[in-house]
Each structure stands twice: as C-alpha cells, then as structure tokens.
C-alpha cells in the first residue's frame, strides 16, 4: 500500500486539478437551483428581461459545469491509467530481473493474471478510490458542522448509526478482502490453465486430451463461480447496510427530532434542514460502500503484486554494466557443489539435499575446448548454467580469469559468456530479429554471416520472405533442427568471448552437423569453448573431455585417453565408434 501511495504521490498535481474540477462541478451544480429560484421569482414579477438573463446564466452554468465535470472525470480516471501504466512497466522491469527459481515457482499463466487482472483491480481502486476518499470526508465535515450548529444533541443521536456502521464495516472488510483474494486467485488459475493447455496443444491433440482438459477447466470455472458468489453474498449486504444506517438515522431524526419539535425544543424548519443534510450525506456514504469493496479488491490484488515486487533475486542485473568484459577466457570451477534444493526452503524433503553436482574441479585454459559428456541427468547443463549465474554454486566458486564471477558485473558476465541453451527457444518475430536478439545493433551483414555459419543458408533460401519470415511463438513454425541452428546463429551474432553449446546440434542431421561444426569451429577459433554433447563427432577433438556421472567427475582426458580406459566414456561411445569401424569395410 505504501508503494501505491508513492505512485499516487507522483500524480498529486493532476489529482489536485481533478479534485478542484470536481469541486467546481459541485459548486456550479449547486448554483443552478438558486438561479432557477431567481428565474421563478422573475416570472412571478413578470420581468422578461430578468428571466432571459437567468435563463442565459443557467445555460452558462450548465455548459461550464459540463466542462468541469468532463475534466474532473477524465483527469482523475486517467491518473488511474497512468498509475496502471507505470506500475505495469515497473513490474515488468522487476520481473526481468528475477531468476529461474522464481519462474519455476509461479506459472506463466498465473503471473499473467497478476499483471492483467490484479492490475485492473488496483487501477479501479485508485480511479474511484481517490475521488471517493477525498470528496466523502469533505461532505461529512461540511454537513456535520452545519448540523452541529443546529442541534448538537440531535446530531449525535443521528450520527450514532453511522458509528455502528463503521464498526460493522471494519469487520466485514476483512472477509471481503479474503474472498476477493480468492476470486483473484480463481481467475488466475483459469488463466494459467488456458495458458498451459494451449501451449501444450500438440500433446492435447495427439493424446486426445480435449475432454480431459475441458473437464479440468470446467472444474476451475465451477470453483471460480463459487468464489465469485461467496464474494457477492457479502458485497450484497454492503449497500443495504449503508442505506440501513442512513435510514436509521433518518428514523432517529424523525422520532427523536419529532419529539423535540412537539416539545418545542427545535423548529420544524430545523428538522427539515436536518433531514436534507442527512440525505446529502447518504449519497457519498453509499458510494463509499462501493468504494470499500473496490478498495478491498484492490488491496487483495496489490498484495499479489507485492509478492512479485518483494521477490528479490541474487542475480539482479545492474543498470549500467560494462558492455563486455575484457577476458583472456580462463574458466574454472573450484570445488563446486550445487543442489537445486539448497536454498529452497519450501521443498525440504527431510533428507540431505540431493546434490546435482559435487566437488567439481575443472579448468579450461584460454582458447581451449572443453567437452562435457555423461548420461542423461548427470549434471552437464547444471554445470554450464553456473557459468552465467542463472544458478549459483551452493559451495565452491566459479572463476573467469581467476576472478569469482560473483564479483563481476552480471551484465558484463552474460555478454562475455554466450550460451546456446539446450532447449531452443525463439520468439514470435522475424528470423533476422531472432538472430540479432542479443545485439539489436547487429548489422545486416553480421546477421547474414551468423546465419551462414549456423548452416541456415539453404533453409532461408527456401522461405519466400527469407530472413523476414516470422517464426511463430517459441519458433513453432520452424523444424527442430532449424530452430536449433537459429539459436546458434543468435549466439554468433552475440559474439561472446566464451562460447557454451549445450547439446546444440542434437536435432540436426549428420551432414548439416558436420558443416555447422566446421564453420563454427573456424568462427570461434581462439575463444574458450565449452560443449555438451551426446555425439562423438562433436566432442572428440576437445582439448579435454570430462565425463560426469551422477554429479561428479568420473573420468577426464582426451578422446584417445578415455577410449583407452574403457570406462564410462568408452561405454557411451563405443557403439557409435564400432559402427564407424564396421563401415570401413
């Protein structure tokens, strides 16, 4: 809430103007009855000129009032839009800094709903809320002071129901808030389900899960309905409550005031005036009820947004890092152990945290090539992810040129170490823009060159729009191998000093693989290269090969040394190599 106030504070002058316009609207609105009275007096006096004058004044007041009302409404509501806009940008800017553990915890669809539905709720709260929270007290103060001057006793008596109302409201608002929160979570869950089912639509179709998914969706909707109606049940009493309080105080005025009139303590005129003031109070107070439920909903929503804001990540990118670090390119893992569960307090499984890596000690000298092999789940990708601080070692450290990477500026580090992740992920944009993803200033020639090195020439030639072809969400409209090679081109255009390829050619046929490896080898010559692969062809020429087994280094050496050992490495590749010999008949 304090965060929100600071946003509102930013627009205080516009709010002030908006509220000024609101007051002007009210003032102009109040003068019209006076003018009408004067006009009627003029009619009674058969004074045509005066009548004409009054009619003109009324028209003038109407037009002015209209303009003021117009301003007051859109200025205040647009402040809400502006706050929403800023909040959305700030949320995004914050999200961009959060690490993978955050994105694993919250689903995309859920996050989406926070940035869409919750933000809307917050905006509605500040649009209406500010208006209502500033005008209502004003009305109260004005009315109360007049009422007190008329009869303090009657005032106190007639105000009593409102005091009770505030007390009840205080208690109700808790459960409105809780139920609002549940409604927001409900729609969040629905959004998340849509997001997930449709992202996996190819699985849904292949396994004819349409009905199964629809049933799950229906269930989410059903519980959302229940949550919505549970909220409606309380919100439904809100208005009657407020009107009830207003009515009760009218009753008090009527009965108690009536008795006072009968006892000649106050005049009938006082009583009528009292009543009209209470009526004047009723409207803003009623709208206050609406505002309260908006407020509660907004507060619940803000709570969900605050959860995002309050998540801090160890790997925050600093605002102005150097573009790229000047490094020789020596990479070293020193006694590195890593567990995905070490700093996750939620999922303690009782037992000691399972380590994905244990006691890793590897040094890659500048310009050399390190290959990491090992069975599925051995920890190869984990080792590589440590280099860019997507994850941080649980113990030990990773250094580049002898400096702990935690001491390097993160932006600089990530521009120095370029990774082709194992899962090729592209964005629904043109091929050219996907290739220039990491370096928006890359020239056309650089893009074409990168595509060429990645062996994309013939694929691009087949597409009528060439590099301007839009690839669909996640790169959906490309073949598996094309996607992988675009991610390689993306890396080349990024031009990092240290190159990391995590199984980057697994979906590529051997002929293309060979060509790509060859041109890639030339273009990364002199740079430290780290490759992960399951294919002998990719790893055999590495300066050092390490074999990971269940998170530890089981073997290390060159291809020949490892083959001679007849250990895990030989076991992994002997079949590939056996066939190789067979073909040399």
């Amino acid at each position: 809430m304090r965060r929100l106030l600071s946003y509102i504070g930013r627009f205080w002058h516009r709010y002030a103007f908006g509220i000024f316009c609101t007051l002007a609207t009210a003032a102009l609105g109040m003068t019209i009855p006076y003018l009408v009275r004067d006009a009627i007096n003029a009619i009674q006096a058969h004074d045509y000129l005066r009548l004409a004058f009054m009619v003109k004044l009324i028209c003038g007041a109407a037009v002015l009032g209209g303009v003021a009302r117009w301003f007051s409404r859109f200025v205040i509501f647009n402040c809400g839009r502006d706050i929403e806009y800023n909040l959305r940008n700030d949320l995004f800017a914050h999200l961009v800094k959060l690490g993978p553990e955050f994105y694993e915890r919250l689903k995309t669809g859920d996050l989406m709903s926070r940035l869409v539905n919750d933000l809307t709720a917050v905006r509605m709260m500040i649009g209406m809320g500010v208006l209502s929270f500033t005008t209502t007290p004003l009305m109260w103060v004005l009315s109360l002071s007049v009422m007190l001057s008329l009869s303090p006793r009657l005032t106190l008596a007639s105000i009593a129901p409102y005091l009770v109302l505030f007390f009840v409201m205080y208690h109700l608002s808790r459960s409105i808030m809780e139920r609002s929160l549940r409604v927001q979570e409900g729609i969040g869950a629905i959004g998340a389900k849509i997001q997930e089912s449709l992202s996996g639509i190819h699985i849904v179709k292949a396994y004819t899960l349409e009905q199964h998914q629809a049933a799950q969706f229906r269930a989410l909707n059903d519980s959302y309905n229940e949550q919505g109606l549970a909220l409606a049940r309380i919100r439904g009493v809100l208005l009657p409550l407020i009107r009830g309080a207003a009515a009760a105080s009218t009753m008090i005025v009527l009965i108690y005031g009536g008795a006072l009139v009968m006892a000649h303590r106050i005049s009938i005129g006082d009583l009528v005036a009292f009543m009209s003031y209470l009526v004047a109070l009723a409207w803003p107070t009623t709208s206050l009820g609406w505002t309260i439920s908006l407020y509660q909903r907004g507060k619940a929503a803000m709570k969900r947004l605050a959860e995002i804001f309050e998540t801090t990540s160890t790997t925050m990118i600093e605002e102005d890092g150097p573009l790229r670090l000047e490094v020789a390119g020596e990479v070293r893992w020193e006694d590195v152990s890593f567990s995905y569960f070490a700093n996750r307090n939620g999922s303690s499984n009782g037992a000691a945290p399972a380590y994905a890596l244990r006691g890793i000690n590897v040094t890659v000298r500048p310009g050399e090539k390190l290959a990491i092999v090992g069975r599925t789940g051995a920890g190869k990708s984990t080792m590589v992810k440590l280099l860019t601080r997507m994850i941080e070692p649980t113990t030990g450290r990773v250094t580049i040129d002898g400096r702990d990477i935690r001491e390097l500026p993160l932006g600089g580090l990530r521009r120095t170490v370029g990774v082709v992740p194992q899962e090729p992920l592209l964005f629904s944009d043109t091929l050219a823009r996907n290739i220039a993803f990491g370096r928006t200033d890359a020239s056309r020639d650089e893009i074409i060159e990168a595509a060429h090195v990645a062996g994309l020439d013939s694929d691009i030639a087949m597409m009528p729009r060439g590099l301007e072809t839009v690839v669909g969400e996640r790169g959906m409209s490309l073949s598996g191998g094309q996607k992988q090679r675009v991610t390689i081109a993306r890396l080349l255009a990024y031009n990092p000093s240290i190159v990391v390829l995590d199984d980057a050619l697994s979906s590529v046929d051997t002929e293309t693989e060979r060509a790509v490896l060859e041109s890639l080898g030339q273009s990364v010559r002199g740079r430290t290269t780290i490759v992960v692969s399951h294919r002998a062809s990719t790893v055999r020429d590495a300066d050092e090969i390490i074999v990971l087994d269940q998170g530890t280094i089981a073997e290390r050496g060159t291809h020949e040394e490892l083959m001679a050992r007849r250990g895990i490495y030989a076991g992994l590749f002997h079949r590939q190599l056996l066939e190789e010999e067979l073909t040399q008949y």
Partner: protein
C-alpha cells in the same frame, strides 16, 4: 515478440453479438427475469420512504394543515405518539422490503453473470482446443488467454451491471414521457428537444468509441501476448542481456494501450457530462418557454414548477443509460472478438466416420502435397507404404519435411493434394479421436504439464495403474531416475518440466507414448537428447514391445535406425530413396553419404 502486429476482424452486426450473449444467458433466464422484476419493486420500496416521511410530518408533526380526510382526525388524535411509532414501523418494513429486493436482485444478477460467462468461457475453451494446428501457428497463446479472461470480463460487466437495469431505466423513461405528455403536451415537446442532440451525441460516440474500444482490446491483447511470451522466455532474455530492450518494447506496447484507454476515458466522460449539461439546459428552455406562458397567463406557475420536476426525473434514466452505453459498447467489442474466435472452423468431421474393419496398422501416403503457407510447398508428391507390423525409418536433412509427414498422419493438418490412408481408410474419414488413439506419438517438441510425473504419464486415463506407469517408465529407461526422486512417481513437475534435465523430459514423454499402448507407434527424434547408452537400452526394450506393431521412426543418429525394415530418405520435401540399410549403402546415394559422414573416418569425407 513482434511489436505492433494487429489482427483485423470482420465487423459483425451488433444484434448478432447480442443474440450470442443472450444464448449464454438464456439457460439462466428464470433468475434473470426474477431479477428484472425485483428491480422496479426495489425502486418502489425506495420511493415509498420519502413519501412516508412527508406523510408523518403532515399527519403528526405539523398540526396546522392536515391533508388527511376529516374522518381520520379523531383516529390520529387518539393515536398520538403511537401513530408516530406505527409510521416508524411501516417505514422499517419498507426499508426491509428494499433491502430484500436489492439483495435478491444483486445476488441473482451476479449469479446469472457468473454462470453464463463461465459457460461462455468453457464453450470457448472447448472450441479453441478443437481448432486445427494452423490456427495455433498464427495465434499466440497470450492472445487467447486475453480473450478468455479479460474479454469475457468485459461482457460480464454488461450482463451484471447493464442489461438488467436498462429495462428499469427504459420503463421509467417511457412512464415519465407519458406523464409529461399528458400533463402538458406543448411543454413536453419542448423538453423533448433535448433528445435529438442527445441522439447525435450518442451516435458520434458510438462511432468513435467503437473504434477506440476495438483499439483497446487489440492493444491490450498485444501487450498481454508480448508479456506471456517474455515471461516464458525470460531465461533467454536474461542470457542475452536483452532486459533493457525488452523493457523498452514492453513500454511501447504499454504506451499504446494507455493511449487508447485514455482516449476512451475522454469520450466516456464527454458523453456523461454532456448529458448532465443537457439536463440543465432543458430546464432553462422550459423556464424560458413556460415562463413566457406563465407571464401571458396561459399556464399556472405550479404547473411550470411541477413540470421542471418531471424534466429532472426524465434525465435520471438517461444519465444511467449513457453510463451503461459505454459498458455496452466495450463489451460488444469484446464479444466481436470472441465471435471471431467462435467462427474459426475446426477440422471438418466426417458425416459418418468410417468403420474400421482391418485394424492392423497400415499406413499409406498417396501422392501427398502439402504447404503450411500457400505457395511454399513443404511436401511434394510423397508416396509411401508401411505394411502392418513393419518398422520404417525416415531420415533426411533438417527441414526436409519428416515431422510434417507425421503431422499429416495424425491430421494436425490436412493434405493439399493426394491422400493418406490408415488401415485402408482416408484419415479424413476416420473419427478424429479414434485416429489419434490408434497412433502413439512421441513428438520432437517435448512438453510436460505442471503436476506430477504420474499425471504426466497417465494423462487422465485413470485405468492406468501405478504398475503400468512404472512399466512404461522402465521401458523408456526413465524409471531409474524417477525412483531416485524423493517423491518417486509423485515427484512434482514444474511448468514444461523445467525441473528435469532435457534428456529426462524426453524419456518421460517417450514413456507417455508407450503407456498409451498404441497399434502404431510414431517416434520423432524420440531420443535425440539422450546419451547413446540409454538410447541403446531404450531400443532393446522397444524391440520386444514393437513386435506386431507398426512403427515409424525419425532419427538423425543412424545407429538408431539400422535395424528398421525399411529406411526412407527425404530431401527437400520429397522421398528420394527407400530400402534396407544394406541396400541403401550399396546404392551409394544420399543415405550412403549421410552414413559416411557420421561414421566414416574424417579424412574419407568429401
């Protein structure tokens, strides 16, 4: 993440849209109409209260003038303060009546809106799920989420705030006009002068606002689609230090959305305040015209004052309606987008699905042509035959169309020319569900649902017990690591399986197909991210499983396909070679070259 791509929608008539909304509200018409009836009742209860107050004052508090008939006077005198209490009691009753009707009407409308919109959402979801893959190729998921959440919310607002009160307002409006006309037709016509400018304004607003609301929906959808994609690809954005550019692009979209939203506010506020101003101007007109008549003694002053009261009341429903009109417009635009979605055609279904007599699992492609986009042929005259029980492998360069063959086989897309027969029947004549049930598919694009491992293998088939799941996992060599997990089969799977290694994900999706126990097993690069030892073990396990089943295998690592009965070599969208491993090697063609490249000594290449 293209910034600024927009969709163009065909315009649909408003009435059609409203009819569509009504078709979803219709099942709940009973509560709907009850709420409609409660509304004027509520007004009645509310209006009776000030009248009671007036009566109380007149009857009890102001003894100077008693409008009550003479016979009542003794009664009133006798009643005294009791009378006051009686009036109080009556007042409370009216109040309770008001609350009860309000609550009933409020709850019922909420219920109607909630249920009908939830039906709409579910219907939409069902519909979208069944749309052909080509639809998903061009529609980002983020947009679909917007349609099914925020767009429906906009309609919901109309259903729960607008539609009901509009009846009430309309009735009030007509009633007041009738009263005014009978009261003084001439003055009434003058008062109705306000109507033409109002209509002009509404029309102006209608045209402008529709455009603005369309922009809003479109821009918000684009913003949200961008957001969804950025969130899903955040890892890549961070790896490539694209944070700042992404923020800038997001800001651009955000700005564009804000621009239309603000414009809409300006229009809305304009409409609302014009109605207000018009109401005061109408008073002025009545004063001027009526005042003249009073001065010329044509009518009495009382008539004029009363008439002004009515003119005021006449604007109340108009004011309400003008506010609802904006809600209506924005929800119509939302409905327009939903309508466009509903009009997307699912794959044609055979009128009467063919009865499959011979279920042995044969596949025939006859001169198949296919293109994802017109003018870009991807498959050219592909013919192939897979006999029941045969294992056929497809190899070829990347992008040569292997995966496309499979997508056509399972009818993710329809062929452009030629036909595909499964068990002797054209796939277009199969019942789609049955066709896909017959084919177990391991797709190149691995996808796991958030949940746990068990659910991901079972995929909703409750008949599949733990042991069957274990068997499938064991065959796919996935049981080993699954059992190492603390929770075993119940180990949590995060969105897209993010907490597993790529190879593990692939093995689990393989196990999923094996658990499916299909007649035809299709494997598209099913073990590309798996080490060769595990891959070999998978193959051994497959061998016994595949006896008697038809299998179509796509792989780049030739070691995985050598044992196939037949190998098809694809190049550039057509089939070039076909034969057994030995035959193809002997032919020294494309296959030979692939093989040599993979296994031949480096120096013998080229």
């Amino acid at each position: 993440m293209e910034v600024g791509r927009e969709e163009k929608l065909a315009r649909v008539h408003e009435l059609t849209l409203l009819k569509r909304v009504w078709s979803f509200v219709r099942p709940y018409r009973l509560p709907f109409w009850i709420a409609v009836v409660l509304m004027p009742l509520n007004t009645l209860f509310a209006l009776s209260q000030p009248y009671l107050v007036k009566l109380t004052i007149d009857l009890f508090l102001d003894p100077r003038h008693r409008p009550a008939p003479a016979w009542l006077h003794p009664l009133l005198r006798a009643a005294g303060t009791h009378g006051l209490l009686a009036m109080g009691a009556l007042y409370v009753m009216m109040l309770l009546g008001e609350f009860a009707t309000f609550y009933g009407q409020f709850y019922l409308t909420m219920m109607v809106a909630q249920y009908s919109m939830s039906d709409l959402r579910t219907a939409l979801f069902n519909h979208v799920e069944r749309l052909p893959m080509a639809f998903f190729d061009r529609t980002p998921v983020g947009r679909l989420v917007s349609r099914m959440t925020t767009d429906i919310d906009a309609i919901s607002e109309m259903v729960n705030a607008g539609s009901l009160t509009i009846f009430n307002d309309a009735i009030t409006l007509v009633a007041i006009v009738v009263i005014m006309l009978t009261f003084n037709a001439r003055l009434a016509l003058w008062a109705l002068c306000a109507i033409p400018p109002l209509l002009l304004m509404v029309n102006f607003f209608r045209v402008r606002a529709r455009v603005v609301y369309r922009d809003i929906r479109e821009r918000l959808a684009a913003l949200n689609a961008y957001l969804a994609e950025a969130l899903a690809g955040m890892g890549v954005i961070q790896l490539f230090t694209r944070e700042r550019e992404s923020c800038r692009e997001f800001d651009q979209l955000n700005l564009r959305a804000r621009e239309s939203l603000m414009l809409a506010n300006i229009y809305e506020a304009g409409l609302f305040s014009s109605v207000e101003a018009l109401s005061s101007i109408t008073i002025a007109i009545i004063l001027w015209v009526g005042g003249g008549e009073v001065i010329r003694s044509l009518i009495g002053l009382g008539t004029l004052v009363a008439f002004m009261e009515y003119a005021q009341k006449f604007f109340n429903p108009l004011r309400e309606m003008s506010q609802k009109y904006t809600v209506l417009q924005s929800s119509l635009v939302a409905m327009e987008r939903i309508e466009a979605l509903l009009e997307e055609k699912p794959l044609s279904r055979p009128a009467a699905p063919a009865r499959i007599t011979d279920r042995r699992g044969s596949i025939v492609f006859e001169h198949v042509d296919f293109a994802y986009r017109p003018g870009e042929p991807v498959l050219k005259d592909v013919s192939l035959t897979v006999e029941p029980g045969q294992k056929v492998a497809i190899v070829g360069a990347t992008g040569s169309g292997k995966t496309t063959i499979i997508k056509l086989l399972t009818r993710f897309y329809d062929v452009k020319a030629g036909r595909i027969l499964v068990d002797g029947v054209d796939v277009r004549e199969w019942d789609l569900t049955e066709l896909r049930r017959a084919i177990g598919l391991v797709q190149q694009d691995v996808f796991l649902f958030a949940g746990d491992i068990l659910e991901n293998i079972r995929l909703g088939r409750v008949d599949l017990d733990d042991s069957a799941v274990r068997t499938a996992l064991a065959r796919a060599q996935a049981l080993r690591f699954v059992e190492q997990m603390p929770a075993g089969l119940r180990e949590e799977v995060h969105e897209r399986g993010a907490n597993f290694s790529a190879g593990q994900r692939q093995l689990m999706s393989f196990a999923r197909a094996l658990a499916y126990d299909p007649r035809i097993l299709v494997m598209d690069e099913a073990t590309s991210s798996v080490d060769s030892e595990t891959e070999h073990l998978v193959q051994l396990a497959l061998e016994q499983l595949l006896t008697g089943r038809t299998a179509l295998i796509i792989a780049h690592r030739l070691s995985t396909i050598q044992s196939a009965d037949r190998i098809l070599v694809m190049s550039n969208g057509s089939l070039r070679e076909s034969g057994t491993h030995q035959e193809l090697l002997a032919r020294r063609g494309l296959y030979y070259r692939l093989f040599e490249l993979q296994y031949g000594a480096p120096d013998t290449a080229e």
